[in-house]
């Protein structure tokens, strides 16, 4: 009996030793239940392929991710791998939370990234890659086929054929007079003023018009955000609102495909296709964003994966990221979710975005017109100030005054942080 007990204890100790010898990596992520389950499965598969590693998943809801991240920073519990929203990358790198990912992730994954995907994961100071994703994002112009045919609108099939500003505004006017159309366009004001939508979707309208949220060389906003092209672009959008052409914020985000299809056009994200096509079937056409000035512009950026500086096992963290991005289950689920490809191999395997697919024009934008949001540590201040200005303008405020105020606010934040060195040295 005594011997048996001793053997049992020794075996337990040995097993305990094995368990202790396991390397644990923490992976922080967000996502709906489908994604949560997918990450859970990937973690299990990675553990099966690497029996000496335990993957512990840390979940935070999408809308409270920043709070959860702040808590992790303050309590010094940063995970090894973290999902992050691309425009916040510069802030995280500048704050010292992320490390370069290129040496840690498989070369074939890096080589597989689209230009837009590389742009969203690159830190402008050292031009190094800090995050990588399977997916990316874009905004296109959805149209109701029967309304567009009724006004004789030209339907562009590629980015090069995008509507000009004159065409676009002319069609809005015609649509406003067409029977059955209550609002010529939904710009998704229903997403509210506290989401990233305004900067993400309306920023490219400014860039297309020939200006930007901030000068990307001097990192000054005054003189750029409140420049004439920006003021004119926002005045143009204000006119759409005051003319009653835009679905109001109070009417939600479903007017393009709701009963009676009261909105004729929708300036919506790639994810909107699944919602709209489910109701409208073949009545939906997908077009590139119009050219509001000298060049075309479209947004990019989504949730991507980075490895933190707090990681004690960055090599294993990198191995996990590589494993996940190549995992069939991950790709299958992303495809089902109409995810916008950020890797070329995934694009080739996504019929929705492949040549001839209904969203092909959206993918074409990634290589031709995509512009990342300002990769600067002051981005949280930039987006907050711009959102406030747009809200003020849409509610009847003076565009020049609102944009000047926002530009000053952004510059103040940068000055208060001593120019976020070394960003100040770029000037």
């Amino acid at each position: 009996m005594g011997k048996r007990l001793l053997s049992f204890l020794m075996a337990s100790a040995a097993l305990g030793g094995i368990a202790e010898a396991k390397t644990v990596i923490h992976v922080m992520h967000q996502g709906d239940p489908g994604w949560v389950a997918t990450y859970g499965e990937i973690a299990k598969r990675f553990e099966a392929a690497n029996p000496d590693v335990d993957v512990e998943l840390i979940y935070a809801p999408h809308d409270a991710y920043n709070e959860k991240f702040s808590a992790a920073v303050m309590s010094k519990q940063l995970p090894d791998v973290m999902e992050l929203d691309a425009p916040f990358l510069a802030n995280y790198v500048w704050s010292g939370y992320l490390q370069p990912i290129k040496p840690l992730v498989d070369k074939d994954v890096i080589d597989d990234m689209t230009e837009s995907n590389i742009a969203q994961g690159t830190y402008p100071i050292d031009k190094d890659l800090y995050a990588v994703g399977l997916t990316d994002s874009s905004v296109v112009l959805y149209g109701n086929k029967k309304y567009l045919e009724a006004i004789g609108a030209r339907i562009p099939k590629s980015v090069d054929e995008a509507w000009t500003r004159e065409e676009f505004e002319g069609y809005l006017e015609k649509l406003s007079k067409l029977e059955g159309v209550k609002w010529p366009i939904d710009t998704f004001r229903g997403y509210g003023i506290k989401t990233e939508w305004i900067t993400y979707a309306y920023g490219p309208i400014l860039q297309s018009a020939g200006c930007d949220l901030i000068d990307r060389k001097t990192w000054k906003s005054v003189g750029t955000l409140d420049s004439d092209p920006c003021v004119e672009a926002l005045t143009m959008m204000q006119k759409w609102v005051t003319n009653g052409w835009v679905v109001p914020q109070s009417s939600g985000t479903n007017q393009f495909f709701a009963e009676g299809q009261p909105a004729a056009l929708a300036l919506g994200g790639h994810w909107f296709y699944a919602e709209a096509a489910a109701s409208m079937k073949d009545d939906i056409v997908v077009m590139p964003l119009p050219k509001f000035g000298p060049k075309g512009a479209s947004p990019n950026g989504t949730w991507i994966w980075g490895i933190t500086t707090a990681s004690e096992h960055p090599d294993i963290a990198g191995k996990f990221v590589s494993f996940m991005l190549k995992d069939k289950l991950y790709r299958d689920y992303a495809r089902e979710d109409s995810a916008y490809p950020g890797l070329k191999s995934f694009a080739a395997d996504s019929p929705l975005y492949a040549a001839g697919g209904p969203m092909a024009v959206a993918f074409e934008q990634a290589s031709k017109t995509a512009i990342a949001r300002p990769p600067h540590p002051a981005y949280p201040a930039i987006t907050s100030a711009f959102m406030g200005a747009v809200d003020e303008i849409f509610n009847g405020g003076d565009a020049k005054a609102a944009l000047s105020k926002a530009a000053e606010k952004i510059d103040e934040d940068i000055e208060e942080n001593d120019g976020y060195p070394p960003f100040d040295e770029q000037q």
């Binding site: 709906d32 239940p33 979940y59 809801p61 709701a258 009963e259 994200g269 919602e275 489910a278 949730w303």
Partner: protein, 297 residues
Amino acid sequence: MSDLAIPTVQAKVKSERSSIGSLHMVQTASILVIALVIVSPLFMLLIASLKDDRFQILADMGSFRAFWVSSPTLSNFAEIGNLSGELAFGRYLVNSLIILASTVGAGLIVNSMAGFVLAWGSLRGRALILSLVIALYVIPQESIIMPLVIMVSRAGMTDTFAVQIVPWIASPLYIFLFYQFFAQLPKELFEAAEIDGASVFRIYRSIFLPLSLPALATVSILMGIESWNQYLWPILVTQTDYARPIAVAIATFFGQDSIYWDRAMAASVLMMIPILALYLAFQRWFVSSFVGSAVKG
């Protein structure tokens, strides 16, 4: 004179009756409108939870179709009502109930004891302690949340039930509510028991606590609602589904790109049921608790 006066009085009475009748009608109509405004979102929630197409739910919003379901189904509830797996909302509901019951149970004991000692104990500096307790009440929870996160993470308490219960057991508001209630009870009760040789704890347990049912009910309801509606704290301190409450779990349906309205609505109905049952069971206390806490707190 009298011939003329009678019709005048009758007319006046008739007119008064009619104006009272009109007033009643206006009152009833107002109540109906208010009830409609309050009940209609709940009704819409229930109807939406019986539809299995999230896109249809979104398309129906903003029209009267939001209040009608042609082929009701319980499939959303079947999908989410599991105790394990991807959509273990049954488990999250149980987690929330465990957290609620433990917080309220322990909270009643701790806060009532503290209130009793402050009201009747022989503690030195009771007035100062009471002032400090009241002063603590004005500090908003959000302002101490980050230091608290650091404390619990250093104590290794993250992702446990305890971390969602322990910090919220003692509360200045509830200590003060109990203090107020106990302080109003006659001094003779305490003195008589003391003369009979009862200890302070015995006086608390056998005399004052049984008399404080209204205060216990008020605190239970207020604490229960507070615990049930906790959102930010569990987000910060839970990591896996082990101790995740239902309020946090529902947020998973609001993704970066799309909202799963069908399941979110069903989960919201699930979350509403226990608190609705509590409300119906303690309706009388519920109203008086709000009045009481507004006056006293």
